[in-house]
Protein backbone atom coordinates (compact mmCIF):
# COMPACT_ATOMS: atom_id res chain seq x y z
CA UNK A 1 0.00 0.00 0.00
CA UNK A 2 2.87 2.31 0.74
CA UNK A 3 3.89 2.20 -2.94
CA UNK A 4 0.59 3.82 -3.88
CA UNK A 5 1.53 6.81 -1.77
CA UNK A 6 5.03 6.86 -3.24
CA UNK A 7 3.48 6.94 -6.71
CA UNK A 8 1.09 9.71 -5.73
CA UNK A 9 3.94 11.70 -4.22
CA UNK A 10 6.12 11.28 -7.32
CA UNK A 11 3.25 12.20 -9.62
CA UNK A 12 2.42 15.25 -7.52
CA UNK A 13 5.95 16.54 -7.30
CA UNK A 14 6.93 15.88 -10.92
CA UNK A 15 4.49 18.08 -12.81
CA UNK A 16 4.80 20.93 -10.33
CA UNK A 17 8.23 21.72 -11.79
CA UNK A 18 9.42 22.92 -8.42
CA UNK A 19 13.02 24.00 -8.14
CA UNK A 20 13.93 21.51 -5.42
CA UNK A 21 13.16 18.27 -7.25
CA UNK A 22 12.68 18.04 -10.97
CA UNK A 23 13.71 20.46 -13.69
CA UNK A 24 13.15 24.12 -14.48
CA UNK A 25 13.47 25.88 -17.81
CA UNK A 26 16.57 27.90 -18.71
CA UNK A 27 15.57 30.21 -21.53
CA UNK A 28 17.87 30.92 -24.47
CA UNK A 29 19.71 34.21 -24.07
CA UNK A 30 19.08 34.39 -20.33
CA UNK A 31 22.06 35.49 -18.22
CA UNK A 32 22.34 32.79 -15.56
CA UNK A 33 24.40 33.31 -12.42
CA UNK A 34 25.46 29.70 -11.84
CA UNK A 35 24.72 28.62 -8.27
CA UNK A 36 24.95 32.28 -7.26
CA UNK A 37 28.72 32.14 -7.74
CA UNK A 38 29.29 35.02 -10.10
CA UNK A 39 29.90 32.71 -13.07
CA UNK A 40 27.52 34.08 -15.70
CA UNK A 41 26.51 32.00 -18.70
CA UNK A 42 24.04 32.65 -21.53
CA UNK A 43 22.84 29.54 -23.39
CA UNK A 44 22.01 29.76 -27.08
CA UNK A 45 19.07 27.36 -26.71
CA UNK A 46 16.61 26.25 -24.03
CA UNK A 47 17.94 23.83 -21.40
CA UNK A 48 16.43 22.01 -18.42
CA UNK A 49 18.10 22.74 -15.07
CA UNK A 50 18.06 20.02 -12.38
CA UNK A 51 16.69 21.03 -8.98
CA UNK A 52 18.78 21.07 -5.85
CA UNK A 53 17.87 17.49 -4.85
CA UNK A 54 18.68 15.84 -8.18
CA UNK A 55 21.48 18.29 -8.98
CA UNK A 56 25.20 17.79 -8.36
CA UNK A 57 25.52 19.85 -5.17
CA UNK A 58 25.38 23.42 -3.95
CA UNK A 59 28.48 24.61 -5.85
CA UNK A 60 27.34 23.35 -9.23
CA UNK A 61 24.40 23.08 -11.60
CA UNK A 62 23.42 20.32 -13.99
CA UNK A 63 21.54 21.03 -17.20
CA UNK A 64 20.21 18.73 -19.92
CA UNK A 65 18.42 18.88 -23.26
CA UNK A 66 16.90 15.39 -23.63
CA UNK A 67 17.61 13.80 -20.24
CA UNK A 68 20.82 13.53 -18.22
CA UNK A 69 21.74 10.18 -19.76
CA UNK A 70 21.68 11.73 -23.25
CA UNK A 71 23.26 15.14 -22.80
CA UNK A 72 24.49 16.60 -19.56
CA UNK A 73 26.11 19.96 -18.98
CA UNK A 74 27.63 20.45 -15.54
CA UNK A 75 28.71 23.89 -14.40
CA UNK A 76 31.10 23.78 -11.44
CA UNK A 77 31.00 27.27 -10.04
CA UNK A 78 33.74 28.16 -7.62
CA UNK A 79 34.71 24.85 -5.99
CA UNK A 80 36.75 25.85 -2.94
CA UNK A 81 39.93 24.33 -1.64
CA UNK A 82 39.24 21.08 0.19
CA UNK A 83 35.83 20.51 -1.39
CA UNK A 84 34.76 17.63 -3.70
CA UNK A 85 33.50 18.41 -7.19
CA UNK A 86 29.99 17.21 -6.43
CA UNK A 87 27.81 15.89 -3.64
CA UNK A 88 29.15 12.85 -1.82
CA UNK A 89 26.60 10.05 -1.72
CA UNK A 90 28.57 7.87 0.69
CA UNK A 91 31.23 9.85 2.50
CA UNK A 92 32.27 6.99 4.77
CA UNK A 93 32.71 4.17 2.25
CA UNK A 94 33.22 6.06 -1.02
CA UNK A 95 34.75 9.43 -0.17
CA UNK A 96 35.35 11.72 -3.13
CA UNK A 97 38.74 13.30 -3.77
CA UNK A 98 39.10 16.98 -2.88
CA UNK A 99 40.01 19.97 -4.99
CA UNK A 100 43.15 21.87 -4.02
CA UNK A 101 43.74 25.49 -5.02
CA UNK A 102 47.32 24.63 -5.96
CA UNK A 103 46.32 22.04 -8.54
CA UNK A 104 47.70 22.22 -12.07
CA UNK A 105 45.46 21.40 -15.07
CA UNK A 106 46.63 17.79 -15.18
CA UNK A 107 45.74 17.52 -11.50
CA UNK A 108 42.26 18.88 -12.13
CA UNK A 109 41.75 16.36 -14.94
CA UNK A 110 42.95 13.60 -12.60
CA UNK A 111 40.58 14.89 -9.89
CA UNK A 112 37.73 14.81 -12.39
CA UNK A 113 38.56 11.26 -13.46
CA UNK A 114 38.96 10.02 -9.88
CA UNK A 115 35.66 11.65 -8.86
CA UNK A 116 33.83 9.90 -11.70
CA UNK A 117 35.46 6.57 -10.92
CA UNK A 118 34.42 6.79 -7.26
CA UNK A 119 30.93 8.20 -7.82
CA UNK A 120 29.86 5.90 -10.67
CA UNK A 121 32.02 2.87 -9.96
CA UNK A 122 33.28 2.86 -13.53
CA UNK A 123 36.66 1.41 -14.38
CA UNK A 124 36.35 2.52 -18.00
CA UNK A 125 37.25 6.20 -17.89
CA UNK A 126 40.02 7.87 -19.85
CA UNK A 127 41.24 11.43 -20.21
CA UNK A 128 41.91 11.63 -23.93
CA UNK A 129 43.58 15.04 -24.30
CA UNK A 130 44.51 18.10 -22.22
CA UNK A 131 45.33 21.51 -23.70
CA UNK A 132 45.59 25.15 -22.63
CA UNK A 133 42.43 27.19 -23.05
CA UNK A 134 40.56 29.95 -21.28
CA UNK A 135 37.30 30.34 -19.42
CA UNK A 136 35.61 33.65 -18.76
CA UNK A 137 38.67 35.45 -20.11
CA UNK A 138 40.97 33.75 -17.61
CA UNK A 139 43.83 31.44 -18.58
CA UNK A 140 42.76 27.89 -18.10
CA UNK A 141 42.62 24.51 -19.71
CA UNK A 142 40.39 22.04 -21.44
CA UNK A 143 40.33 18.27 -21.58
CA UNK A 144 38.42 15.59 -23.44
CA UNK A 145 37.36 12.33 -21.85
CA UNK A 146 35.36 9.19 -22.52
CA UNK A 147 33.79 6.58 -20.29
CA UNK A 148 31.31 3.73 -19.99
CA UNK A 149 29.12 3.39 -16.91
CA UNK A 150 28.83 0.02 -15.15
CA UNK A 151 25.77 -1.91 -16.29
CA UNK A 152 25.53 0.08 -19.52
CA UNK A 153 27.16 -0.44 -22.87
CA UNK A 154 26.85 3.14 -24.03
CA UNK A 155 30.19 4.85 -24.67
CA UNK A 156 30.04 8.50 -23.73
CA UNK A 157 32.33 11.31 -24.79
CA UNK A 158 32.94 14.39 -22.75
CA UNK A 159 34.65 17.77 -22.95
CA UNK A 160 35.48 20.17 -20.13
CA UNK A 161 36.87 23.69 -19.96
CA UNK A 162 38.01 25.28 -16.73
CA UNK A 163 40.11 27.82 -14.91
CA UNK A 164 41.19 28.36 -11.33
CA UNK A 165 40.30 31.88 -10.28
CA UNK A 166 40.99 33.23 -6.84
CA UNK A 167 41.79 29.74 -5.63
CA UNK A 168 38.38 28.44 -6.76
CA UNK A 169 37.71 26.02 -9.60
CA UNK A 170 35.33 27.06 -12.37
CA UNK A 171 34.71 24.23 -14.80
CA UNK A 172 32.08 23.54 -17.44
CA UNK A 173 31.77 19.98 -18.69
CA UNK A 174 29.56 18.37 -21.28
CA UNK A 175 29.02 14.68 -21.95
CA UNK A 176 26.76 12.60 -24.17
CA UNK A 177 26.65 9.22 -25.92
CA UNK A 178 29.33 9.00 -28.62
CA UNK A 179 26.67 7.96 -31.12
CA UNK A 180 24.87 11.02 -32.46
CA UNK A 181 24.28 13.00 -29.25
CA UNK A 182 27.81 14.26 -28.50
CA UNK A 183 28.45 15.63 -31.98
CA UNK A 184 24.95 17.06 -32.28
CA UNK A 185 25.02 18.96 -28.99
CA UNK A 186 28.66 19.80 -28.29
CA UNK A 187 28.17 23.11 -30.12
CA UNK A 188 25.69 24.23 -27.46
CA UNK A 189 28.33 23.56 -24.79
CA UNK A 190 30.99 25.42 -26.75
CA UNK A 191 28.67 28.42 -27.13
CA UNK A 192 28.14 28.49 -23.36
CA UNK A 193 31.87 28.26 -22.68
CA UNK A 194 32.67 30.98 -25.22
CA UNK A 195 30.22 33.43 -23.64
CA UNK A 196 30.93 32.61 -19.98
CA UNK A 197 32.09 35.50 -17.80
CA UNK A 198 32.75 36.25 -14.19
CA UNK A 199 31.24 39.11 -12.27
CA UNK A 200 33.87 41.68 -11.30
CA UNK A 201 33.60 40.75 -7.64
CA UNK A 202 34.80 37.25 -8.50
CA UNK A 203 38.19 38.61 -9.57
CA UNK A 204 40.99 37.98 -7.17
CA UNK A 205 44.68 38.73 -7.11
CA UNK A 206 45.31 35.10 -6.29
CA UNK A 207 44.49 33.84 -9.78
CA UNK A 208 46.42 30.83 -10.86
CA UNK A 209 47.27 31.00 -14.56
CA UNK A 210 46.99 27.25 -14.98
CA UNK A 211 50.13 26.33 -16.93
CA UNK A 212 49.93 23.04 -18.75
CA UNK A 213 52.35 20.49 -17.39
Amino acid sequence: MMWRWVLIAVAAVGPSGCAVFGYTLVRPGAAVDVAGSGLIVSPDRAWNRAGSINGPGKDAERWTLDGPALNELTLYAGIRDGRPLFREEDRRDRPLPRFSATMLPVDVAALFEASYRVASGTSLFTIDAIAPDSLAGRPGFRFDYSYVLPGEEVRRKGAATGAIVGGKLYLISFEAPAIHYFDRDVGAYRAIVAAARLKDDARDVGDIPGPLT
Binding site: V10, Y23, V154, Y181
Partner: protein, 234 residues
Protein backbone atom coordinates in the same frame (compact mmCIF):
# COMPACT_ATOMS: atom_id res chain seq x y z
CA UNK B 1 17.08 0.05 -16.68
CA UNK B 2 16.62 0.18 -12.92
CA UNK B 3 14.22 3.10 -13.29
CA UNK B 4 12.17 1.03 -15.72
CA UNK B 5 11.80 -1.74 -13.18
CA UNK B 6 10.75 0.73 -10.50
CA UNK B 7 8.28 2.12 -12.99
CA UNK B 8 6.77 -1.25 -13.82
CA UNK B 9 6.42 -2.07 -10.13
CA UNK B 10 4.64 1.21 -9.59
CA UNK B 11 2.40 0.82 -12.63
CA UNK B 12 1.48 -2.76 -11.84
CA UNK B 13 0.51 -1.74 -8.32
CA UNK B 14 -1.88 0.84 -9.67
CA UNK B 15 -4.00 -1.56 -11.68
CA UNK B 16 -4.05 -4.78 -13.63
CA UNK B 17 -2.91 -3.48 -17.01
CA UNK B 18 -1.60 -0.07 -17.91
CA UNK B 19 -0.82 0.95 -21.49
CA UNK B 20 0.30 4.39 -22.54
CA UNK B 21 1.78 5.51 -25.84
CA UNK B 22 3.44 8.61 -27.25
CA UNK B 23 3.92 9.56 -30.88
CA UNK B 24 5.81 12.27 -32.71
CA UNK B 25 2.90 14.58 -33.56
CA UNK B 26 4.20 15.70 -36.95
CA UNK B 27 5.14 12.29 -38.31
CA UNK B 28 2.95 10.60 -40.91
CA UNK B 29 3.54 7.05 -42.03
CA UNK B 30 3.76 6.70 -45.84
CA UNK B 31 0.53 5.52 -47.41
CA UNK B 32 1.93 2.29 -48.83
CA UNK B 33 2.89 -1.14 -47.49
CA UNK B 34 5.84 -0.70 -45.13
CA UNK B 35 8.86 -2.82 -44.36
CA UNK B 36 9.57 -3.03 -40.64
CA UNK B 37 13.01 -4.16 -39.51
CA UNK B 38 12.58 -5.93 -36.17
CA UNK B 39 15.66 -5.65 -34.00
CA UNK B 40 16.73 -8.60 -31.87
CA UNK B 41 14.00 -8.62 -29.18
CA UNK B 42 15.33 -8.04 -25.67
CA UNK B 43 13.24 -10.62 -23.78
CA UNK B 44 13.66 -12.22 -20.38
CA UNK B 45 11.20 -14.42 -18.48
CA UNK B 46 11.93 -15.26 -14.84
CA UNK B 47 10.47 -16.90 -11.83
CA UNK B 48 10.32 -14.96 -8.60
CA UNK B 49 11.85 -16.55 -5.53
CA UNK B 50 10.12 -16.17 -2.19
CA UNK B 51 12.44 -13.24 -1.51
CA UNK B 52 11.39 -11.55 -4.75
CA UNK B 53 14.59 -12.20 -6.69
CA UNK B 54 13.97 -12.76 -10.42
CA UNK B 55 15.69 -15.94 -11.69
CA UNK B 56 15.81 -15.95 -15.52
CA UNK B 57 14.58 -19.13 -17.19
CA UNK B 58 16.16 -19.83 -20.61
CA UNK B 59 13.36 -22.09 -21.90
CA UNK B 60 10.62 -19.67 -20.90
CA UNK B 61 12.59 -16.79 -22.43
CA UNK B 62 13.01 -18.65 -25.74
CA UNK B 63 9.29 -19.48 -25.83
CA UNK B 64 8.31 -15.87 -25.16
CA UNK B 65 10.72 -14.52 -27.79
CA UNK B 66 9.30 -16.89 -30.41
CA UNK B 67 5.72 -16.09 -29.44
CA UNK B 68 6.31 -12.32 -29.49
CA UNK B 69 8.02 -12.39 -32.91
CA UNK B 70 5.17 -14.52 -34.26
CA UNK B 71 2.59 -12.12 -32.87
CA UNK B 72 4.43 -9.09 -34.29
CA UNK B 73 4.74 -10.65 -37.72
CA UNK B 74 1.05 -11.58 -37.79
CA UNK B 75 -0.07 -8.16 -36.56
CA UNK B 76 2.01 -6.30 -39.14
CA UNK B 77 0.92 -8.73 -41.85
CA UNK B 78 -2.69 -7.89 -41.08
CA UNK B 79 -1.81 -4.23 -41.71
CA UNK B 80 -0.29 -5.12 -45.06
CA UNK B 81 3.26 -4.51 -43.84
CA UNK B 82 6.17 -6.91 -44.05
CA UNK B 83 8.56 -7.72 -41.24
CA UNK B 84 12.29 -8.38 -41.58
CA UNK B 85 14.14 -9.75 -38.59
CA UNK B 86 17.63 -8.36 -38.31
CA UNK B 87 19.71 -11.54 -38.28
CA UNK B 88 22.80 -12.21 -36.20
CA UNK B 89 25.74 -10.10 -37.36
CA UNK B 90 29.45 -10.56 -36.92
CA UNK B 91 32.49 -8.32 -36.52
CA UNK B 92 31.97 -4.56 -36.91
CA UNK B 93 28.32 -5.02 -37.88
CA UNK B 94 27.61 -6.91 -34.64
CA UNK B 95 29.29 -4.13 -32.68
CA UNK B 96 27.22 -1.49 -34.45
CA UNK B 97 23.99 -3.34 -33.69
CA UNK B 98 25.00 -3.72 -30.03
CA UNK B 99 25.85 0.00 -29.85
CA UNK B 100 22.44 1.01 -31.18
CA UNK B 101 20.67 -1.47 -28.90
CA UNK B 102 22.48 0.08 -25.93
CA UNK B 103 21.70 3.62 -27.09
CA UNK B 104 18.06 2.70 -27.55
CA UNK B 105 17.87 1.28 -24.00
CA UNK B 106 19.27 4.57 -22.71
CA UNK B 107 16.83 6.67 -24.72
CA UNK B 108 13.93 4.44 -23.62
CA UNK B 109 15.03 4.88 -20.04
CA UNK B 110 14.87 8.67 -20.45
CA UNK B 111 11.45 8.41 -22.11
CA UNK B 112 10.26 6.29 -19.17
CA UNK B 113 11.60 8.81 -16.68
CA UNK B 114 10.29 11.95 -18.37
CA UNK B 115 7.07 10.75 -20.01
CA UNK B 116 5.86 8.02 -17.64
CA UNK B 117 7.34 8.41 -14.18
CA UNK B 118 6.06 11.91 -13.47
CA UNK B 119 9.23 13.94 -13.86
CA UNK B 120 9.03 16.58 -16.58
CA UNK B 121 11.61 18.30 -18.75
CA UNK B 122 10.16 21.75 -19.50
CA UNK B 123 11.61 21.76 -23.04
CA UNK B 124 9.80 18.48 -23.76
CA UNK B 125 6.37 19.63 -22.63
CA UNK B 126 3.86 18.67 -25.34
CA UNK B 127 6.63 17.19 -27.50
CA UNK B 128 7.92 13.75 -28.31
CA UNK B 129 11.20 14.20 -30.16
CA UNK B 130 13.74 11.67 -28.95
CA UNK B 131 16.04 10.18 -31.56
CA UNK B 132 18.83 7.69 -32.22
CA UNK B 133 20.24 9.85 -35.01
CA UNK B 134 20.43 9.24 -38.75
CA UNK B 135 23.16 6.60 -38.34
CA UNK B 136 20.38 4.01 -37.86
CA UNK B 137 20.18 3.87 -41.65
CA UNK B 138 23.00 1.36 -41.41
CA UNK B 139 20.68 -1.01 -39.54
CA UNK B 140 18.19 -0.85 -42.39
CA UNK B 141 20.95 -1.53 -44.91
CA UNK B 142 22.07 -4.57 -42.90
CA UNK B 143 18.53 -5.94 -43.07
CA UNK B 144 18.38 -5.43 -46.84
CA UNK B 145 16.30 -2.25 -46.62
CA UNK B 146 13.36 -1.05 -44.57
CA UNK B 147 11.22 1.93 -43.64
CA UNK B 148 11.20 1.63 -39.85
CA UNK B 149 13.03 -0.28 -37.15
CA UNK B 150 11.07 -1.78 -34.28
CA UNK B 151 12.65 -2.35 -30.88
CA UNK B 152 10.92 -4.71 -28.47
CA UNK B 153 11.75 -5.05 -24.79
CA UNK B 154 9.87 -7.53 -22.61
CA UNK B 155 10.20 -8.76 -19.06
CA UNK B 156 7.82 -11.34 -17.65
CA UNK B 157 7.91 -13.09 -14.28
CA UNK B 158 5.99 -15.75 -12.44
CA UNK B 159 5.74 -16.31 -8.72
CA UNK B 160 7.34 -19.46 -7.32
CA UNK B 161 5.44 -21.55 -4.76
CA UNK B 162 7.36 -19.82 -1.99
CA UNK B 163 6.43 -16.43 -3.38
CA UNK B 164 2.77 -17.42 -3.64
CA UNK B 165 2.82 -18.53 0.00
CA UNK B 166 4.32 -15.19 0.97
CA UNK B 167 1.63 -13.36 -1.00
CA UNK B 168 -1.08 -15.26 0.91
CA UNK B 169 0.53 -14.51 4.25
CA UNK B 170 1.00 -10.89 3.25
CA UNK B 171 -2.64 -10.56 2.23
CA UNK B 172 -3.77 -12.15 5.51
CA UNK B 173 -1.76 -9.51 7.37
CA UNK B 174 -3.26 -6.71 5.30
CA UNK B 175 -0.12 -6.09 3.25
CA UNK B 176 0.74 -6.46 -0.42
CA UNK B 177 3.45 -8.73 -1.80
CA UNK B 178 3.89 -8.31 -5.58
CA UNK B 179 3.78 -11.49 -7.67
CA UNK B 180 4.51 -12.01 -11.33
CA UNK B 181 4.44 -8.95 -13.59
CA UNK B 182 4.94 -8.28 -17.23
CA UNK B 183 6.41 -5.22 -18.75
CA UNK B 184 6.71 -4.68 -22.49
CA UNK B 185 7.58 -1.70 -24.60
CA UNK B 186 7.79 -1.23 -28.34
CA UNK B 187 9.34 1.67 -30.17
CA UNK B 188 9.25 2.50 -33.83
CA UNK B 189 12.20 4.31 -35.39
CA UNK B 190 12.19 6.13 -38.72
CA UNK B 191 15.16 4.58 -40.52
CA UNK B 192 15.79 7.78 -42.53
CA UNK B 193 16.13 10.10 -39.54
CA UNK B 194 16.55 7.88 -36.48
CA UNK B 195 13.62 9.65 -34.80
CA UNK B 196 11.48 7.61 -32.43
CA UNK B 197 8.09 8.25 -33.94
CA UNK B 198 6.04 6.03 -31.61
CA UNK B 199 6.62 4.45 -28.22
CA UNK B 200 4.19 2.32 -26.27
CA UNK B 201 4.60 0.71 -22.89
CA UNK B 202 2.47 -1.92 -21.19
CA UNK B 203 2.70 -2.97 -17.56
CA UNK B 204 0.43 -5.70 -16.32
CA UNK B 205 -0.03 -8.13 -13.48
CA UNK B 206 -1.88 -10.52 -15.83
CA UNK B 207 -1.02 -12.56 -18.91
CA UNK B 208 1.70 -14.93 -20.06
CA UNK B 209 4.16 -14.00 -22.79
CA UNK B 210 5.35 -17.62 -23.16
CA UNK B 211 1.99 -18.55 -24.59
CA UNK B 212 1.31 -17.55 -28.26
CA UNK B 213 -2.17 -16.39 -27.30
CA UNK B 214 -0.84 -14.29 -24.42
CA UNK B 215 1.86 -12.80 -26.64
CA UNK B 216 -0.70 -12.01 -29.35
CA UNK B 217 -3.01 -10.28 -26.88
CA UNK B 218 -0.09 -8.20 -25.57
CA UNK B 219 1.15 -7.20 -29.04
CA UNK B 220 -2.37 -6.40 -30.26
CA UNK B 221 -2.97 -4.22 -27.20
CA UNK B 222 0.31 -2.38 -27.73
CA UNK B 223 -0.15 -1.95 -31.49
CA UNK B 224 -3.61 -0.45 -31.13
CA UNK B 225 -2.16 3.07 -30.97
CA UNK B 226 0.37 2.68 -33.78
CA UNK B 227 -0.16 5.59 -36.20
CA UNK B 228 -2.28 4.58 -39.16
CA UNK B 229 -0.65 4.50 -42.59
CA UNK B 230 -3.15 6.84 -44.16
CA UNK B 231 -1.71 9.74 -42.18
CA UNK B 232 -4.25 9.73 -39.39
CA UNK B 233 -3.10 11.02 -36.04
CA UNK B 234 -2.51 8.25 -33.51
Amino acid sequence: MRRLFILVAMMALCGCTTVRSFAAPEHRLPDRPLTIVVMRPDVEVSWLTAGGVAQPNADWTASARTALIGALTAEQGARGNSVRLLGEQSGEAARLVADYEALHRTVADQIAQFKYAGMILPTKRGKFDWTLGPGVRQLGEMAGGGDYALFLYARDSFASDGRLALQIVGAALGGYVPGGERFVYLSLIDLRTGDIIWFNLLASARGDLRDPEGARATIDTLMRTLPARAGARP
